[in-house]
């Protein structure tokens, strides 16, 4: 009976779609307020979302296996783009992160956040579990290459996210405890070397985090203003469009990286909690869909996209509330900025494609 009644969209999870749509709407609401009640930012954001929709349409036409086979090409393409950034990149705030593609600026490191886990999932799935030594080595090299390229930009924040996502794939595939522990030990021992290799502005951000009230005029200014905006919001907030600190321009970058401070100021602790729950719900739903899959490729893809989303969101919000140093990570689905928005949507398109809510109906593999 169910087979007869099921439509061709049966394998798409409606819950994740609803959650995503609410998050996108929530984001548009915040941008509307951030742009002083103009539709401009939202329109631009929507125009930039069209490549994501086209890509999604193509993706749904593809066979799952074809996608898996395409991963090396996608990975190679993103590495080439990263190299191009280093060669012909577009400078802003002292870092080369963007490629100017005429119509819009493109940030290839956002692409790597998707292509890397796909590639790793494809390699691990091909070789099967438990992990083979040669697939560990292959994966490590695939992680280290983009990590170094992004680090060169320099963009320590994104580089660490890339390493974390890559490591996550290996961790989920049962990387042995010995290797994990020895990696941790290595990290601890080499931390002074890493510190000495860091750029001055990166060191400054860490120092500022440890002494937030020390230098609020210069290095601590962003976090200081953002905390004031968040704190002044209180329990229920000042109401949408009424956030004084964000609307009057005290919080810098309040349309992009610091948009969370606007949410907190205008919608209060309640609004912030709502958004946190939404992020967790989307992430956990993606992970849950992945968990249900029998196919290892699909499983790893869904889980890593979900984790990537929650990780980015957490890092952004932790930065805005002063838990971690200032890093240039946007808030996924909300921050104004094309690449992040498109890539996040594309990532979830892959989850919707691969994450069948009821895999048994499909005849598993």
């Amino acid at each position: 009976m169910s087979r007869i009644r099921s439509s061709r969209y049966d394998h798409i999870d409606p819950i994740l779609i609803y959650l995503l749509l609410s998050a996108i709407l929530f984001g548009f609401l915040s941008l509307y307020s951030a742009d002083h009640q103009n539709w401009g930012l939202i329109t631009k954001q929507l125009i930039r979302a069209t490549p994501a929709l086209i890509a999604t349409a193509i993706l749904f036409k593809l066979n799952k296996r074809t996608l898996q086979d395409l991963t090396p090409i996608i990975y190679t393409a993103s590495i080439i783009l990263l190299i191009m950034v280093l060669l012909l990149g577009y400078m802003t705030n002292g870092a080369q992160r963007w490629l100017n593609l005429g119509l819009f600026k493109f940030e290839p490191s956002e692409l790597v956040k998707i292509s890397l886990p796909l590639t790793l999932a494809s390699i691990i799935a091909k070789d099967g579990l438990p992990l083979k030594n040669y697939s560990i080595i292959k994966s490590s090299l695939l992680i280290i290459l983009p990590f170094i390229l992004v680090l060169k930009q320099p963009d320590l924040g994104t580089a660490l996210i890339i390493a974390t996502i890559g490591g996550l794939c290996l961790f989920l595939s049962g990387l042995s405890r010995m290797i994990i522990l020895s990696l941790c030990a290595l990290l601890c021992i080499s931390s002074p070397i890493i510190w000495s290799q860091m750029h001055d502005y990166q060191k400054q951000r860490v120092i500022t985090l440890l002494n937030p009230e020390d230098d609020i005029q210069h290095h601590g200014y962003h976090t200081h203003q953002s905390k004031i905006a968040i704190g002044s919001g209180g329990m229920t907030g000042k109401g949408l469009l009424n956030g004084t600190q964000n609307q009057l321009g005290f919080v810098p970058e309040h349309k992009t990286d610091f948009v969370f401070s606007l949410i907190c100021e205008e919608l209060g602790f309640i609004g912030a909690t709502f958004w946190l729950s939404l992020v967790l719900a989307i992430g956990v739903r993606a992970i849950l869909l992945g968990y249900r899959q029998y196919c290892l490729f699909s499983k790893l893809c869904c889980i890593s996209v979900g984790c990537n989303f929650m990780l980015n969101a957490w890092i952004n919000m932790a930065m805005v509330t002063g838990i971690i140093p200032v890093v240039g990570i946007p808030l996924p689905l909300i921050s104004y900025g094309g690449t992040s928005f498109v890539m996040t949507l594309l990532g979830f398109a892959i989850v919707l494609k691969l994450g069948n809510p009821d895999p048994r109906k499909q005849g598993a593999w």
Partner: protein, 557 residues
């Protein structure tokens, strides 16, 4: 597929690891939420305070300061809006500028420079809409008569102009001297309060008025601007003072002290060599000299120490022991009665009188004419007179001898009085002893109902008659032929003692005598009294005559 996969094993491996990953995420999000709770709920008040501090600015609304009018209701002092533009001293990077102005108003004031601009320029700059330039208006005091009333009206001071001022620094004016200072509480009014909502670059977005300002009360003075101007014109170039008052009310109708200063720029126009900031009306003391002679005569007559008929012989000096006290006329006045003594200002007569009366009586006579008290006129910082009271004499280094008493009788020696107290004595002399409160503010008038001086009418008549003859045939005969009657007495206060008359011409300017004149007009029922003191120049009679001529010329019209 090369080999069969163990799906179950794969599931078990990923499941264990997934539990760890998800728990880490949950912990991380709980940390985030608890941090939000701390910032938004626990420290809400603190951050709300900081936010308010950043995006609002409390501003005083300056009250209109009360106006000051003259007796004919012409404005003497009023507020005028001044336009000020403040601009950054250095071309700052926009971001840096915004941060600085948003963070610390105190710091920003260091980076700005302010200057007064014309109203037209103000409108022009306003039109540019440039955020970097901060435009302000504030109220400054304008004085219609400039330096002609500066010692009476005084001036106001401003707190420094802070381009991004908060509550503390404002353009509040406070009176520093004269009427402005004495009636500051009445004139200043009450400031209002408003709150500006500002953005990060300091531009005002919204303004909310909390309370309106209340304008200060106006002050109506008894000063006649015309007389004041005339007196200032006559005294210009000399150091001295002219005080004219109405002896029937105690109202000061003109009071000039020269040199004077520009009330808009008192500090810049300061001339310490000529002490132009010194208010000679209330703050300088001079020996009253011969102007005291009618006062001593009157009271000695009343106490029957002398009579009009009494005559003495004046050889040109008065001998005490072997010391000669010289008269101003070396060859002497010959036979001198009271009339001649005052008319010719015979010193020997008063040396003798003073010696006979003794210092206690002289001090008592001075007290009866109120020289022992300040006049309490409505001007700040009135100086006290120096009267040789018993207490003063005991403390005097070098002791007190008859010689001191004798020269006190002609208003010299240690005796030093302010022109305003001399003016009060003149009023008492003119109105036969009614001590009206001297005042500049009309509402401060208080008329004495009974005379404080109990002197028989015939004695008043005697002195008034003698004083009116002084202006006809005596030392002030310049007045002879005036269209009005006037009674008066001249005086010349010695600054440096000399032996021979001829020596006077060798004295330096600042060692020459001060000239004084006290008088009232008309002799019967006087309506104006005048005191003139000119330092180191014998011009007092001439100036007084010009003033009284002008007074009657104006009033007759």
């Amino acid at each position: 597929m090369s080999k069969l996969r163990n799906v179950h094993t794969e599931r078990m491996i990923t499941k264990k690891r997934l539990v760890i990953v998800v728990s880490i995420f949950v912990c991380a999000y709980i940390l985030l939420l608890s941090n939000l709770y701390t910032i938004q709920i626990k420290k809400h008040e603190y951050y709300l305070g900081l936010a308010t501090q950043y995006h609002t600015r409390n501003v005083r609304i300056e009250p209109q300061r009360g106006k000051i009018y003259d007796a004919n209701k012409h404005v003497l002092a009023t507020d005028q809006t001044t336009f000020i533009a403040c601009y950054p001293k250095l071309p700052l990077d926009q971001q840096e500028f915004i941060q600085q102005s948003a963070l610390s108003t105190r710091k920003a004031s260091k980076t700005h420079q302010c200057s007064e601009v014309e109203s037209w320029d103000y409108a022009h700059i306003n039109h540019w809409n440039n955020d970097a330039i901060i435009l302000k208006t504030h109220l400054t005091r304008q004085y219609a008569q400039g330096n002609k009333l500066s010692h009476l009206i005084g001036y106001t001071s401003h707190a420094s102009i802070n381009p991004l001022s908060n509550e503390q620094a404002s353009t509040h004016q406070s009176g520093v001297n004269g009427i402005e200072s004495y009636y500051d509480d009445q004139l200043k009014g009450y400031p209002g309060k408003k709150v500006h909502t500002i953005n990060a670059s300091g531009t005002i977005q919204q303004t909310h008025t909390l309370s309106k300002s209340i304008a200060g009360e106006d002050i109506y003075t008894t000063i006649h601007s015309n007389l004041q101007k005339k007196a200032h014109y006559l005294l210009d170039g000399h150091s001295g003072t002219v005080i004219m008052l109405n002896p029937n009310t105690g109202a000061i109708i003109a009071a000039v002290s020269t040199p004077s200063f520009d009330p808009k720029n008192p500090i810049k126009s300061a001339d310490y060599k000529n002490s132009n900031l010194l208010n000679r009306i209330t703050q300088a003391t001079y020996p009253p000299a011969s102007t005291l002679k009618p006062i001593f005569s009157l009271l000695a007559l009343e106490d029957q120490h002398i009579s009009v008929q009494d005559k003495i012989h004046d050889p040109g000096y008065y001998l005490v022991g072997n010391k000669r006290f010289r008269d101003w006329k070396r060859q002497g006045h010959g036979e001198v009665d009271l009339n001649k003594a005052i008319n010719e200002s015979c010193d020997t007569y008063f040396y003798m009188l003073g010696h006979r009366l003794g210092i206690d009586t002289l001090v008592n006579y001075l007290s009866l004419f109120k020289f022992n008290q300040a006049t309490q006129i409505d001007l700040p910082n009135e100086k006290n007179n120096l009267i040789p009271t018993a207490q003063y004499r005991r403390a005097r280094s070098g002791g007190w001898y008859d010689g001191h008493t004798i020269i006190t009788a002609i208003g010299q020696g240690d005796l030093a009085v302010t022109p305003i107290s001399l003016a009060r004595a003149t009023m008492l002399l003119a109105n036969k002893g009614y001590d009206h409160q001297l005042h500049i503010n009309k509402s401060n008038q208080s008329i004495a109902k009974t005379p404080t001086l109990k002197v028989q009418d015939k004695n008043w008549e005697i002195i008034h008659t003698i004083l009116s003859s002084v202006t006809q045939t005596g030392t002030a005969k310049k007045f002879a032929g005036s269209s009005y009657s006037v009674a008066g007495k001249t005086g010349s206060a010695q600054v440096k003692a000399i032996d021979k008359k001829a020596d006077y011409y060798t004295l330096k300017q600042y060692e020459k005598d001060h000239s004084l004149f006290i008088g009232f007009s008309p002799v019967i029922n006087p309506e104006v009294a005048i005191v003139t003191i000119i330092e180191h120049e014998p011009l007092a009679v001439k100036v007084s005559k010009s003033m009284l001529d002008y007074y009657w010329e104006v009033t007759q019209k």
